[in-house]
């Protein structure tokens, strides 16, 4: 009996507490000046604070990619706030999705229901994008989003009007890379994927395009999250008689693969996509990384000096060099701040006005020129895929992949 009574009381108390919480305070907001928090979205002025949201993995197995992006965005925002470039302050509301399509909706709704968030960077991955893009775009008013990393080639076709992407999708990178490989004499190419959504997507396109161009292809996959020992697959690749390898995957795994390939004595060209192009690759692979090619829809840091400044500032702030998608997120944040400032020129920026401004943007970032098409992709003229190569620990730009031989 005792326990039961106690349970009853607990339940009753809990019910009371829950219900009390529900008893929302309901006063109408009659005062203009307040705590400086609650109503700030409604008053203009120089101390206005807007928030940019971020959805991506900050914990869990894919956390590093999300953290890279969040750091990039944080850097951009801190720089802008410190410089006093804008009349308003910007804050970042980062929500952890664990990179999980099932958990991303909670993160997304947290941003949607925060009235001070006027735009969102992300979602970082393609999977979670598919899960939450409709929530962002069907919210009233729709939330403008700019993804700096979700490269799946179906996202632009899902009819989400609030969605934008500042990187080329898997198809673009894959097909131009395939074109280059075929043009420069590859007869048989080994296409390896890390079995992630990104890696499988870009590798799949690559294999398809190569076959279309008459190049023979050997396709395989190695799970990037569980595999550390690339020696067996490197041996297979070395013995496959291919004259080039394309790896669809991320930087840390590419570095391991590079080492294993050297050990196995692979002689062919080695190419990977944007996911592999970072200092994590160069430091991780060491000498073995020499000569690797990267296809990337981004500008060459030697041409764009701002990129160098970015690298220096990032390294100084986070004590680690920028990694995959950090520069893209940096660009996305700057782009959104620019859009917010344009939207706030004629009063208070709202999601609607920021979305309008975003659609009209013509912005030069450190990675690319950003001007959106109607479907949210960057205009094809700016979808230049550049080829990069690592030379003794540094990644050097070789130029537009279409013009290279």
């Amino acid at each position: 009996m005792r326990n039961r009574t106690l349970t009853t009381i607990t339940v009753v108390l809990a019910a009371g507490a829950l219900a009390l919480s529900a008893c929302s305070s309901s006063k109408k907001n009659t005062n203009g000046g307040g705590l400086g928090g609650g109503s700030s979205a409604n008053n203009g002025g120089t101390n206005q604070t807007y928030k940019i949201g971020f959805v991506g993995a900050l914990s869990g197995p894919n956390a590093q990619l999300g953290i890279n992006e969040r750091n990039g965005a944080t850097l951009a925002i801190d720089q802008a706030n410190a410089s006093g470039k804008y009349k308003f302050k910007i804050a970042l509301n980062a929500q952890d999705s664990e990179g999980d399509p099932a958990k991303a909706p909670a993160a997304a709704t947290a941003l949607i229901s925060d009235p001070t968030v006027v735009a969102v960077i992300g979602p970082a991955f393609s999977g979670e994008s598919k899960a939450v893009n409709p929530s962002f775009c069907q919210a009233s008013p729709p939330m403008p989003t700019v993804t700096a990393s979700a490269s799946n080639a179906e996202l632009q076709n899902q009819g989400n009007k609030c969605w934008h992407r500042i990187i080329p999708n898997d198809n673009v990178e894959g097909s131009q890379g395939a074109d280059w490989l075929a043009r420069t004499g590859a007869k048989k190419v080994y296409v390896l994927s890390d079995l992630s959504a990104y890696g499988a997507g870009v590798a799949g396109t690559m294999a398809k395009e190569l076959k279309a161009k008459g190049v023979s292809v050997v396709s395989s996959g190695v799970d990037g999250t569980t595999t550390k020992n690339y020696n067996p697959i490197a041996g297979t690749i070395a013995a496959s008689g291919t004259d080039a390898l394309f790896y669809g995957g991320y930087d840390a795994q590419s570095a391991l693969l590079a080492k294993a390939l050297v050990a196995a004595g692979y002689k062919g060209r080695t190419v990977t996509g944007n996911g592999g192009k970072s200092s994590v690759f160069t430091t991780g692979a060491g000498k073995a990384g020499n000569g690797w090619y990267f296809t990337c829809g981004c500008q060459d840091a030697t041409i764009a000096p701002t990129a160098k400044e970015f690298t220096a500032a990032y390294t100084a702030k986070f004590n680690t060099p920028p990694s995959t998608y950090s520069p893209e997120a940096f660009d996305a944040a700057n782009l959104l701040m620019d859009a917010i400032s344009k939207a706030s020129a004629s009063g208070t920026a709202t999601r609607t006005s920021v979305l309008d401004a975003l659609n009209k943007e013509d912005f030069t970032g450190i990675t690319t020129q950003i001007k959106f098409q109607a479907n949210g992709e960057v205009q094809s003229s700016s979808l230049i895929v550049n080829l990069f190569q690592e030379k003794s620990g540094a990644i050097k730009g070789l130029g537009n992949i279409k013009e290279l031989n």
Binding site: L6, K28, L35
Partner: protein, 744 residues
């Protein structure tokens, strides 16, 4: 050095080590590639480490001197003191005080309000002081005074404590309303109410400490006396208090930042073409209904009159129905006026739902009267022939005998129905996509792990099979089903269940002769294989790592048209139906011969066989039933989330579900539900408490601590709990806990 000193030193070392580890855990520091040890240095080099070592030292001192405190712990007043302190601490550290601040600066907790209040010139000085220093001072003063009261039993200390408690409660209310008055906005925060309850409990502690005559407190006895005085009366009283709040101050209708109370809603909706019933409800009918139900249920519970109770029960049900009709017509009007801000059932405040909860409380109170008066009759009968009617299982016994079961069900049901609409969008999402789905999964796995005692580390595979079956049948996969087979998501559920049944039997049949850990590794392998199959996309069936996009469900049945979309609430009610059905079915199953056979093979497989239990069949049934529950969850999940990919179905997820079941209390249905609910709630809760990057670390630490301090789980099965207690007595030597090797 004698053993006592050595033990003390060891404890000191452990406490200091704990402080050290805490220093590593707390803080913003993050490691980096360039300087590997940077965060380690930041964490332990410099003065901050001493703070943490000091914490360790304080814990050491507390543990060491604990025996001296123990004699006082049984004194009257300690229990309310502890509860009050806990409530106040929770309120002033982790709970939200003002929701609008959460969205604007990311911290709506007590400390956040303090920062905002300090910067605000328009706030009354008392409120600023309360948030600034007064609240904590009051807590400490109350603690000191109450401790003095408990130890010395001098009356004045008790009165001082009571005074401080009451002042604290009043000030908390005043300060919070001052903040809300100043800034407005929609606020659903809990903090102030927890704080008030805490302060009032502190006040009670003071009074109890000096007034109780007993040397040893009998908290449970006291509570029993209160609750047993007039069954249902406390619940009815709670209903009255909440009802007054609901009908006077709570918001009923709000778009964006404006929230109408009942009276304001009446004036706002007057003349808008709202139905006359709704207008009357807003005007006088609501109040009248509430008043009548309140008076009747109070009278019924006090007088224990069945007649009055029935009338009040009916009135309460009518109240719920009328409230709903009113809410509906309010939102219909709202949808006409401002379609961009939503339609039917949108923009409702908490008031209406709170009113429904209030009416449900009255119903529960009167149900208690009804069942207690009839239970009295039955109890007399039982007293004469104690062995006459023996219940099916001890759990069933407890449930049937309890006259509280009905009211508890009513309250629980009311909360499940009416509380979720008042949650924020994020929490609604967590409730559906995380808590609800995983509760369903845990309930299913509980059959396999908890009841039948088979360790299944590949349970997620069935979830996956269920999800993909639904995706296939709705045509979301690259390989389309023949057109006659293509169906809508909800219709595919039975097929998903069938697919999982087959998969469960296919897995189970060859492997079930393996014991314990061998079965674990085989099921683990099965889970991995299914996941890799989905990733590798054989024959282009699954679509590979990119996963399918599944349409949301809709029902077109005759005149009924229900469409689910982005909004989470409708999914919640769909899921609630599924959950209730599954739980009721499983509850019956547990008490059936199959449930007992499962328990038998879990306890002793050899003896079960010798008693004629066909262990293979029984185990297969466990696998099949567990798998089909998983299919239900998977099917629901696929259509609710709208998109999924194979990365969701990893081994880690399987292990987590096992953790939910065991964490909640192995072998108990309530335990599995509670475990899953708590462990899926926790990550979201921690988002507001610790850096997001560190959440999993804290979850790990909390799970570890929980298992250490409560190894049987949150709500252990009754039978299992008894078994544990039996072991405790025998566990004088350490070896008792070493499990026997299963002799076959």
């Amino acid at each position: 050095m004698n053993t006592a000193t050595r033990a003390t030193l060891r404890r000191l070392a452990a406490c200091l080590l704990g402080g050290f580890v805490l220093a590593l855990m707390v803080g913003r520091q993050e490691g980096s590639l360039n300087d590997f040890g940077i965060s380690f240095h930041q964490a332990v080099v410099g003065p901050r480490i001493f703070v943490f070592l000091l914490i360790g030292l304080v814990i050491f001192v507390m543990v060491t001197f604990w025996p001296r405190v123990v004699p006082y712990l049984t004194r009257p007043g300690v229990a309310p003191l502890g509860a009050g302190l806990l409530a106040v601490l929770a309120a002033q550290t982790v709970m939200n005080w003002y929701d609008p601040l959460v969205s604007s600066t990311g911290n709506g907790k007590f400390s956040g309000v303090r920062t905002a209040a300090n910067a605000s010139p328009n706030l009354s000085s008392v409120s600023v002081a309360f948030f600034g220093w007064l609240a904590w001072t009051l807590v400490i003063a109350a603690l000191v005074a109450c401790a003095a009261a408990i130890v010395t039993r001098v009356r004045v200390f008790g009165y001082v404590t009571a005074a401080i408690g009451i002042v604290g409660a009043v000030l908390a209310y005043v300060a919070h309303s001052a903040v809300v008055d100043l800034d407005g906005g929609i606020d659903h925060s809990l903090g102030v109410y927890a704080d008030i309850v805490g302060f009032l409990l502190l006040a009670c502690a003071g009074i109890t400490a000096v007034h109780a005559r007993a040397e040893v407190a009998d908290t449970r006895g006291f509570l029993r006396k209160v609750m047993g005085y007039r069954p249902g009366l406390p619940i009815a009283a709670l209903g009255v208090i909440l009802g007054l709040l609901a009908f006077s101050t709570a918001g009923w209708f709000g778009a964006l930042q404006i929230n109408d109370t009942l009276a304001q809603a009446h004036s706002d909706f007057d003349g808008t073409g709202i139905s006359s019933l709704a207008l009357n409800y807003l005007g006088w009918l609501g109040w009248t209904l509430f008043g009548a139900a309140a008076v009747l249920s109070l009278a019924a519970t006090y007088l224990r009159n069945r007649m009055l109770a029935w009338v009040s029960l009916i009135l309460s049900v009518v109240g719920v129905v009328l409230t709903f009709l009113t809410l509906r017509s309010m939102t219909d009007i709202g949808a006409q006026v401002a379609p961009q801000f939503g339609g039917t059932w949108k923009n409702l405040g908490a008031g209406g739902f709170l009113a429904c909860i209030v009416f449900s409380l009255f119903a529960a109170a009167t149900a208690m009267v009804i069942s207690s008066t009839s239970a009295g009759v039955r109890r007399n009968v039982r007293a004469k022939a104690p062995t006459d009617e023996l219940p099916v299982t001890s759990m069933v016994k407890g449930f049937r005998r309890s006259s509280n079961a009905m009211p508890l069900l009513i309250i629980g049901g009311a909360l499940a129905l009416f509380y979720p609409p008042t949650l924020t969008l994020t929490w609604q999402n967590v409730l559906v996509g995380q808590i609800g789905v995983f509760v369903l999964l845990a309930v299913g796995l509980n059959v396999v792990v908890g009841w039948a005692g088979l360790l299944d580390l590949g349970y997620i595979a069935f979830y996956e099979i269920g999800s993909y079956t639904t995706a296939y049948l709705v045509g979301a996969l690259p390989v389309k089903p023949p057109s006659w087979l293509q169906m809508s998501p909800l219709v595919s559920i039975p097929f998903a269940i069938l697919a999982c049944l087959i998969a469960g039997v296919l897995l189970g049949a060859p492997t079930l002769r393996l014991r314990g850990d061998y079965l674990a590794i085989v099921t683990l392998g099965f889970g991995e294989i299914i996941q890799i199959l989905a990733v590798n996309n054989p024959g282009g069936f699954t679509g590979g790592p990119q996963g399918p996009t599944v349409p949301h469900p809709r029902i077109h049945l005759g005149g009924i048209n229900i469409t689910w979309g982005q909004d989470n609430l409708p999914y919640w009610y769909l899921l609630l139906i599924m959950l209730i059905v599954v739980i009721v079915l499983f509850y019956r199953l547990e008490g059936s011969r199959l449930g007992r056979a499962w328990a038998a093979i879990r306890e002793d497989e050899v003896a079960a066989q010798a008693s004629g239990v066909n262990t293979t069949r029984v185990k297969l049934l466990a696998f099949a039933i567990g798998a089909s529950t998983s299919a239900l969850a998977g099917s629901f999940f696929a259509t609710q989330v709208g998109y999924f990919d194979p990365s969701l179905f990893t081994l880690q997820a399987s292990i987590l579900i096992v953790a939910y079941v065991v964490f909640g209390g192995m072998g108990s249905l309530q335990g599995a539900i509670a475990g899953a609910a708590v462990l899926t709630w926790l990550p979201q809760f921690l988002k507001a408490q610790v850096p997001q990057d560190d959440r999993q670390m804290w979850i790990g630490a909390l799970v570890l601590a929980m298992m250490i301090f409560r190894p049987a789980g949150l709500l252990p099965a009754k039978r299992r709990k008894a078994e544990l207690e039996g072991l405790d007595a025998a566990a004088s030597s350490e070896t008792a806990a070493v499990p026997r090797a299963g002799a076959m």
